[in-house]
Structure formats: structure tokens, C-alpha cells
């Protein structure tokens, strides 16, 4: 007993447990899900989803409490506002994406129990990635996130496109994480064996070994740009997004991007401050090409999910401007605000697509024609979310983009902001194309809308009324956040302001 006591007291001095309490709650939720599924032998699977939702909510509550009272900390985790905000974002993403995925998984008649398991583990990986300051923890949590995402994308195993998507995702994420690891090994070697990010900065003689640090930066950029799907590393995004089941794509498009953003910002801000001119130019180039490529190719797409994949590539291009424009008085406020709004816009759009594909089974943009006649609520909310993505006032997407571009212009990134404005106009074109298609009457009789009626009755008889409202709850939440966040912009900016480190 004496040994255990001394061990626990030494443990408590190295890791302050109250700071990782949200993650511990998620881990407890994960283990509870596994054990409950084993005990129940596959029946009553909705209970597992409830466990997931409860644990995420409790975790969010504790994180909120910690956000208000910032606890200073050491070693493996630092607890500044930047990291906490990202953990909060990832929890929001997990929560809303599970809300909108329950119906889909029930309908497709695949086993229900592993889905919340993978979602919790991916959320956990993302959360630990947001506050790790240690090369080893960063790598393990990144692999955790990537592996769980890969399993999620291959979840509907009867669908060939889903198999192809998860295969591509696995191979390319393996290649990119090996490149990241090589960059890390160079940092480890040249800083004489240090693994903590702060100690690496202390010990590396930047002036003497500049070419090697540049090479290490290039490898780390290649590794993280894959997760962010920046320009030359975006090849996996459309195929994986088109093949995976829709709620999984919703989860990917926000969680892994948010986690990768926090990793990218921390690594490049902490380790390579001497190289800031060089990597600024490279990242600016990548951002400009992502914006141009994403928006131009999205115009020609015929599948809704693929179009959203290309549009998310361009959104990341905009967010990169926010990273480059960070300065002392405003911190990363523009990037954080836009990320917050982007989460709700994207999840809202995917919620409506999930509902539509549950009712009609197609993903083609042409089949959305005349939706206004059949389901005005769905049409109206989809219009709101698409306009917010495009950046039309008075929705919150406009305010987010305005702040972002204003910051970028103030920081001197004139070319990037000009390109971003032009490509925003192009993006408004393809969003409005879809809206026009939905709102106008069709001339030819469309079969899909006939099956719309049949499916709706089938679905509503299978699922209990309590569940059917979970997607709608997610929809309403995202719609409200997409429109009203614009009004509450000031407090959000004030919170995200002192995040410079």
C-alpha cells in the first residue's frame, strides 16, 4: 500500500489529473461502451449512443469550467486558451456529428455498436493532439485520430466505394505520417535528444544548422498538409469524401481538419520562428493554390459530397490566411473565429444532405431539383447553410470571412486576400446554382421525388419518433449557429483574442 501511495503522489506531481479530466471522461465512456455492448449482446444499441452523448456533454461541461478558470501547467500538456479552445471545438464536432449519424446507421442495417466507439476514439485523439507539447504524444495521438477515421470511413463494408475510400485513406495517411516522423527525427537528433517542444527550441542552434532545419520543416509541412488537405496533398479528399458514409464525412471534414490546424499552428509557431519568412511564403503559395483549385473544380462537380470536398479544400485555404496573419495584439482570433463558424456551417450542410440521402438514396445534385415543393423546411435550412458557406451577409459566414480578410490585409498579405476574394465570388456561384436548382420547379417528372414520399413513410415507421428528431435537432442547432453567430461575433472575437504564444 505504501508503494502505491508514493507512486500515486509522484504521478500526481508529474501530471495534474484535473487538466486531462475531459479526456479521462471520454476514455471512461469508451470503456463503458465496450463493456455495455458485450453485456447486452447487441441488443438495445441506442443506449450506447446515449452513453456517448452523455460522456461528451459531461466532458464539455468540465472543459467549460476549465476554460473559465485557466490552470497553469507544465510538461506534457500546456493549458493555455489556444489549446482549450481547440479541445472544445473538437468536442462540439463529435457531439453534433453523432447526433446526425444515428438515423443513417440504423437505416443501413450494419452493426451499430462500433460506430460510437470509433467516434469517441477519434474525438479523444483529436483532443489530445490539441494540447500535446511532446513529439511522441503528438505522433501517437495523430495516429489514433487517423486510424479511427480510417475505420469509420470503411464502416459500410458492403459498399465498394467505402472500401476504396478507406484503402486510399489508410495508404496515404501512412505515407504522410512517415514523412512527418522523419521531420521529427531530424528535430530530435539535432537538439541532442530532446523530445519536448520547448526544450527543442532551447537546444537547437538554429543559425548553425539552418539547411537541416529547413529540410525538417519541409518534411513536417508535407506530413501535416496531408491532414489539412492543402494543395499538392489534397488528392485523397474527393475520393474519400465521396466513398465514405455521409455522417462519417461530416465528422472528418470538421474534426481532422480542426485537429490538424491546431497541430500545424503550434509546430510552425514554436519550432520555426527563425524561418518565419521562408515558411510564410511556402504556406502562402499552398493556400493560394488550394483556394484556386478547390473553387474552380467544385464548379464542375455533379455529386454533392464531392463538391463539398473541394469546397472544404478551399475553406482551408482561407483559414491559412488567418494563420499567416497572426500578430501580437490579436493572436489567432481570425483563424479561431472562422474555424468555429466553419464547423457549424459544414455540419449543418452535411446534416441536411444526410436527411436527403436517407429519404431518396441519391447524392446527385440534379436530384435536388424542385425540393422546395416537397419539403420546404429542408430546403430553407439548406439554403441558409449554403449561403453561410458562400459568405453572404447577414449570415455568420460573411462576418467570419470579413474578419479573416481584414486581418490578412492588415498583415500585408495582399495577393492572398485578393485571390481569396475572387475565389469567394466563384464559390458563391456554385452554391447559388444549387439553391436555384432547389427552388425552381422542374419540367420533367423526376422519379426520385416520387420515391421521396415512399421512403419517408418507411423511415418514419421504422425509427421511433424520439430518434427521428435527433437529426432534426442537429439541423436546427447548426442553422441557428450559422445565422446568429454573426450577431454574437464580438464576444467570440474577444475570447479568441489573447491566444498568441
Amino acid at each position: 500500500m505504501n508503494d502505491i501511495n508514493s507512486f500515486l503522489s509522484r504521478l500526481n506531481s508529474t501530471i495534474n489529473f484535473s487538466t486531462i479530466l475531459p479526456e479521462i471522461i471520454l476514455i471512461v465512456g469508451l470503456i463503458t461502451i465496450v463493456i455495455t455492448d458485450l453485456v447486452n449482446k447487441g441488443k438495445n444499441a441506442i443506449f450506447l449512443y446515449k452513453i456517448f452523448l452523455v460522456s461528451t456533454l459531461v466532458s464539455m461541461g468540465i472543459l467549460f469550467y476549465q476554460l473559465i478558470s485557466v490552470i497553469a501547467f507544465e510538461d506534457l500538456y500546456t493549458n493555455n486558451i489556444f489549446n482549450n479552445l481547440f479541445r472544445f471545438f473538437i468536442l462540439i464536432c463529435s457531439f453534433i456529428s453523432v447526433l446526425l449519424s444515428v438515423d443513417y446507421v440504423l437505416c443501413s442495417k450494419i452493426s451499430l455498436a462500433e460506430f460510437p466507439l470509433f467516434k469517441i476514439s477519434a474525438g479523444l485523439g483529436g483532443m489530445i493532439l490539441s494540447c500535446a507539447t511532446d513529439l511522441i504524444t503528438i505522433y501517437v495521438s495523430l495516429e489514433f485520430l487517423a486510424l479511427s477515421s480510417c475505420f469509420l470511413s470503411g464502416y459500410t463494408k458492403r459498399d465498394i466505394r467505402s472500401n476504396e475510400a478507406s484503402m486510399k485513406f489508410l495508404l496515404m495517411s501512412g505515407a504522410s505520417s512517415s514523412s512527418l516522423l522523419y521531420g521529427f527525427s531530424l528535430l530530435y537528433g539535432f537538439s541532442d535528444g530532446q523530445v519536448q517542444l520547448d526544450n527543442i527550441i532551447d537546444k537547437i542552434l538554429f543559425s548553425q544548422y539552418l539547411p537541416t532545419i529547413c529540410i525538417s520543416a519541409a518534411f513536417i509541412l508535407a506530413g501535416t498538409a496531408f491532414k489539412l488537405s492543402l494543395f499538392p496533398f489534397h488528392q485523397w479528399t474527393p475520393d474519400v469524401y465521396e466513398g465514405s458514409p455521409t455522417p462519417v464525412v461530416a465528422f472528418f471534414s470538421v474534426t481532422s481538419k480542426v485537429a490538424a490546424l491546431s497541430l500545424f499552428t503550434r509546430l510552425f509557431r514554436l519550432i520555426f520562428p527563425y524561418l518565419s519568412n521562408e515558411w510564410h511564403i511556402v504556406v502562402e503559395l499552398l493556400a493560394i493554390s488550394s483556394m484556386i483549385l478547390g473553387n474552380l473544380i467544385a464548379v464542375t462537380q455533379r455529386s454533392f459530397k464531392r463538391m463539398l470536398a473541394y469546397s472544404s479544400i478551399s475553406q482551408i485555404g482561407y483559414v491559412m490566411i488567418g494563420i499567416l496573419a497572426a500578430d501580437l495584439e490579436n493572436g489567432y482570433a481570425s483563424m479561431l473565429t472562422y474555424t468555429f463558424i466553419y464547423i457549424f456551417m459544414n455540419l449543418g450542410t452535411f446534416a441536411r444532405i444526410t436527411l436527403f440521402s436517407l429519404r431518396t438514396g441519391t447524392d446527385n445534385i440534379r436530384d435536388y431539383a424542385g425540393l422546395y415543393m416537397k419539403d420546404p423546411v429542408l430546403t430553407f435550412s439548406l439554403v441558409l447553410c449554403l449561403l453561410s458557406l458562400g459568405g453572404i451577409p447577414p449570415l455568420s459566414g460573411f462576418f467570419g470571412k470579413l474578419y479573416l480578410f481584414w486581418h490578412g490585409w492588415k498583415a500585408g498579405l495582399y495577393i492572398s486576400v485578393t485571390v481569396a476574394l475572387v475565389t469567394s465570388v466563384i464559390s458563391i456561384y456554385y452554391y447559388l446554382k444549387i439553391i436555384k436548382l432547389m427552388l425552381t420547379k422542374t419540367t420533367n417528372p423526376v422519379d426520385t421525388l416520387k420515391t421521396y414520399e415512399k421512403q419517408k413513410s418507411l423511415v418514419s415507421s421504422v425509427i421511433s419518433t424520439k430518434l427521428k428528431s435527433s437529426v432534426e435537432m442537429a439541423m436546427i442547432l447548426c442553422a441557428l449557429a450559422s445565422t446568429l453567430s454573426g450577431l454574437f461575433m464580438d464576444p467570440i472575437i474577444k475570447i479568441t483574442r489573447n491566444t498568441f504564444f
Partner: protein, 178 residues
């Protein structure tokens, strides 16, 4: 050079061609089973290299994990799948030359880094500190165990959760649905 350094150089000169031959064999054998076995040769030679670098725990772990588990799995997988007779379509198209160029640039990068590392580790300040560390009397395994539960506790526990999720995820696509 005294005798111990000479023996060290000799052992390294034996191991390194083994790695080279094994890796060339892995990529260029037509029969996939031969490729899998030469991959086993590469892993064994790397573990011998770890022995020569005085990292005994890592060498044992490499032998157990890579050779004993991963390579055996690869050989099983290769032998279970059907071997179609591969055609000799060795077209030297543009993809071939692009890949050749990219790989040679990568190789030159790595060689340049090795030169810099050589400068780094042979500077006199570093050598005196290195001798002070007195590596030969430390107990490797005990040290690793201590650090795993103290300094690296979070990645260690996270890796165990990762194993759990990987197990569930590997069985999930492969099992029978009723």
C-alpha cells in the same frame, strides 16, 4: 584504430550489405514470397545493427515484433492470396523518370543531412559530454520502464487504447454478419 574499433567496423561492414541486398530483393523479386522473405532479412539485419549500436532492448523488440510478428503475417498473407503470373510490362514511361528524379533528390537530401550530423557529433564539446554519460553501465530495460511510467505516461496509455481500437477496427470489416 585499435582492435575494438576494427571489430566494430567489420561487423558494420557485414550488416550493411545485408540490408542493401535485402531491400533490393524486396522490390525486384517477381515472386512475392521471395520478396516477403527478403523483407525478413532486412528486419533481421536492422536488429543486428541495433545490437552493434548497444541498444539491446530495441534490438530484442525489433526481432520479436518486426521479424516474429509482422513479417510472419506478411508471409502468411502473401501465401494465402493467389499468385497471378505477372506480366513483364516494364515500360520506362514518364512516371518512371519522375519517380527516379524524386527519389534521387530525397537520397541527396539524406546524404547532406548525414554530413551535417557528422559535423555535429564530432565537435569536441559534444564528445566530452558524451563520454561523461558513461553508457555502458546503465541498465537499459529498467531505465525504459521507469521513463515509460513517469515521463511518457500519456503516450504509453494512449498507445494501449490505440491497440484496443485497432483490434476492434480490424475485426469489424472481417466478421460475419447475421
Amino acid at each position: 584504430m585499435n582492435l575494438s574499433e576494427l571489430i566494430h567496423e567489420f561487423i558494420l561492414a557485414l550488416i550493411e550489405p545485408g540490408i542493401l541486398v535485402g531491400s533490393i530483393g524486396t522490390v525486384s523479386f517477381i515472386n512475392t514470397a521471395n520478396s516477403a522473405f527478403s523483407l525478413g532479412l532486412v528486419f533481421t539485419c536492422i536488429s543486428l545493427l541495433y545490437f552493434a549500436l548497444n541498444a539491446d532492448f530495441i534490438a530484442a523488440a525489433q526481432l520479436l515484433v518486426y521479424v516474429g510478428a509482422i513479417n510472419v503475417l506478411i508471409v502468411f498473407a502473401v501465401m494465402i492470396t493467389d499468385q497471378s503470373v505477372s506480366s513483364d510490362s516494364e515500360k520506362c514511361g514518364i512516371g518512371y523518370f519522375t519517380a527516379l528524379g524524386a527519389c534521387s533528390i530525397l537520397f541527396l537530401t539524406i546524404v547532406c543531412i548525414f554530413h551535417k550530423l557528422n559535423d555535429f557529433y564530432s565537435s569536441s564539446i559534444h564528445q566530452s559530454e558524451y563520454l561523461k554519460l558513461n553508457l555502458f553501465e546503465q541498465n537499459d530495460v529498467q531505465n525504459i520502464g521507469y521513463q515509460l511510467l513517469n515521463k511518457f505516461l500519456v503516450p504509453f496509455e494512449l498507445a494501449s487504447l490505440l491497440l484496443l481500437v485497432a483490434l476492434v477496427g480490424a475485426i469489424n470489416p472481417a466478421r460475419d454478419e447475421d
